[in-house]
């Protein structure tokens, strides 16, 4: 699975209250949620991401709440993948369960700049940016199977679990 996109960069500790504030959690419609993605940080995020982007961020991306709407909102807003220095466990699972690839790369925010075009091999974790190559941690094992199935429930229906 190869993914390409223009980089939108964020710092450390991007939390779920920032990704999708609690007042929108009474709904699960992806298009509705997408319009409010990252709203506290940048109300224009939805427009900026709509052409398809890759988020590059620092430590514990997605920390905080279990709200699956965080992954749904980012994906629907146009985020094709997230490269972060580390992910919060619950968000990582929610992203996989919603078909949003998540790649771990040490020093990601130092190595990759805003606006660059990145090319990611989701399975091997190889990342290519402007001729530079980096080795991140791709998605493997059970998580990859769940991602490929289209989420835990699809995986469940295939009677593997």
């Amino acid at each position: 699975m190869i993914i390409e996109g223009k980089v939108m960069k964020f710092g450390d500790k991007i939390d779920t209250d920032v990704i999708i504030p609690a007042r929108y959690l009474k709904f699960t419609d992806p298009q509705y949620l997408a319009q409010h993605a990252m709203e506290p940080l940048d109300p224009e995020f939805y427009k900026k991401a709509s052409s398809g982007v890759v988020i590059v961020a620092g430590k514990v991306f997605g920390m905080g709440s279990s709200r699956e709407q965080a992954a749904i909102a980012l994906k629907a807003a146009g985020v094709r993948a997230i490269i972060a220095e580390s992910f919060a466990r619950i968000f990582y699972r929610n992203a996989i369960n919603n078909g949003l690839p998540v790649i771990t790369l040490n020093d990601a925010t130092k190595l990759i700049d805003e606006g660059e075009i990145v090319r990611i091999n989701v399975e091997t974790g190889e990342i290519e940016v402007n001729g530079r190559k980096y080795q991140g941690k791709g998605i493997s094992g059970m998580a990859l199977e769940i991602l490929k199935s289209g989420g835990i429930m699809e995986y469940l229906k295939s009677e593997k679990f």
Binding site: T16, A22, S66, R67, R89, M142, I152
Partner: protein, 415 residues
């Protein structure tokens, strides 16, 4: 090989000896959800076309985030879940008059050695009695509701020792904030924290629940107190029976250890907009406060209400103050002991069993430019309402003292 509590629980749940880093399928003893995540869980099940539960007696549902419903959509969500409960014949359903889900799990269901998963990040709270408890998203919980299983990566165990006894106005909150100050929000990612208490009776279940609750703020997979006499006494008092205790083997190996001398702690405050931006109360004293909130699944227990009542007795608050015991049981006990009357006489608004203001839901949403002192668990931007509001996290003594003075106040300076 001698096993840590984490390894012991997950070995039992997966049916094989586990090591940190292993990806396992674990049997779940309790699967839970509340109103705000529950409708999403049911939606996922409906979309997948699988409407069955693995064991009716092991599903727990408690309404708390939208309780009582503040708008029509919230009421609609609750109607949908009540229908599901009825259709599936689920016995462990607690409607809006019962309490916050994590408190309900602690009071009635969680046991040492169990694996508990629920659709809410603060599920780590059940670690207070020594259960391996993780929060997950709606899809993962839907799968667990159906199969009674979940997949986990076995975390690396880390040991924390609590030595001595806490001083006046020091509670579990200060231990949680101390760990966040020392290790920051990313250190425990992929780890589980096992807490050993030197003097079990000086660090009661209320305090333990607060620390476990904020295990997710440390990004730990689980934060468990190693079960002891206090665990046994708590469950016996609340439920009338003595639980079997699951404990680590002597000589079990931890990645590292850290000791907190409880007597040396002072009241701590997490400053906006990060849970690990921790300062002593003296560093932030004097900051004017618009609203104080004492409650939530972090600090809505009897001892929290008791502390607030002691500080506010026969006095009047200078700022808006909202107090919410975490459950019907906590409210009733606080009422019997006169704490509710004390808080009401001091000018507080008191209700029971809702998450309400903690996540900016209702019953005290923060307005633009407002400063809130809260005993809850998160001070992220916009957490309690307006993106332009600021939340300071503190223990109930600091919160009550701040309500009394209208500004952030060290409780040791007034009582």
């Amino acid at each position: 090989m001698p096993q840590t509590l984490t390894e012991k629980i997950l070995s039992r749940a997966s049916g094989k000896e586990v090591s940190p880093g292993d990806v396992i399928e674990a049997k779940t003893d309790i699967v839970a959800f509340h109103d705000l995540t529950g409708y999403h869980v049911i939606e996922v099940m409906e979309k997948a076309g699988i409407e069955k539960v693995f064991d009716k007696s092991k599903i727990v549902i408690a309404f708390d985030h939208l309780a009582p419903p503040p708008d029509v959509r919230s009421a609609e969500i609750q109607v949908m879940i009540r229908k599901f409960v009825k259709k599936m014949g689920l016995p462990n359903f607690h409607d809006i008059n019962f309490g916050i889900m994590h408190e309900v799990l602690l009071e009635k269901y969680a046991l040492p050695g169990q694996v508990i998963v629920a659709a809410d990040s603060h599920t780590t709270t059940s670690g207070a009695v020594g259960a391996f408890a993780q929060g997950m998203g709606a899809s993962d919980i839907a799968a667990a509701v159906i199969t009674g299983k979940t997949w986990l990566v076995v975390p690396t165990p880390f040991k924390v020792e609590l030595k001595g006894s806490p001083g006046k106005w020091i509670t579990g909150k200060d231990v949680a904030l101390k760990l966040l100050q020392e290790f920051k929000a990313d250190y425990f990612n992929g780890m589980s924290i096992e807490v050993y208490v030197e003097n079990p009776s000086t660090f009661p279940m209320d305090y333990r629940a607060t620390v476990s609750n904020m295990g997710i703020e440390m990004n730990a997979d689980a934060l468990m107190f190693i079960p002891d006499e206090e665990t046994k006494n708590y469950i016996k008092t609340m439920r009338g029976y003595e639980p079997a205790l699951v404990t680590p083997d002597p000589g079990a190996k931890y990645a590292d250890e850290y000791t907190i001398e409880l007597s040396k702690l002072e009241p701590l405050v997490a400053v906006p907009y990060s849970v690990d931006n921790v300062k002593t109360v003296n560093e932030v004293e004097g900051k004017e406060v618009d609203q104080v909130f004492i409650g939530s699944c972090t600090n809505g227990r009897l001892s929290d209400i008791e502390i607030a009542a002691k500080i506010l007795k026969d006095k009047k608050v200078k700022t808006r103050c909202i107090a919410i015991p975490a459950s019907y049981e906590m409210f009733r006990r606080a009422m019997d002991l006169g704490y509710i009357e004390t808080l009401v006489n001091a000018g507080c608004i008191v209700t029971y069993g809702t998450c309400g203001p903690c996540l900016g839901g209702h019953f005290g949403v923060a307005g633009p430019g407002e400063t809130i002192v809260s005993t809850s668990n998160r001070n992220f931007r916009g957490r309690m309402g307006s993106n332009d509001s600021k939340v300071y996290l503190a223990n109930p003594a600091v919160a009550a003292a701040s309500a009394l003075e209208g500004k952030i106040t060290d409780p040791r300076s007034i009582a």
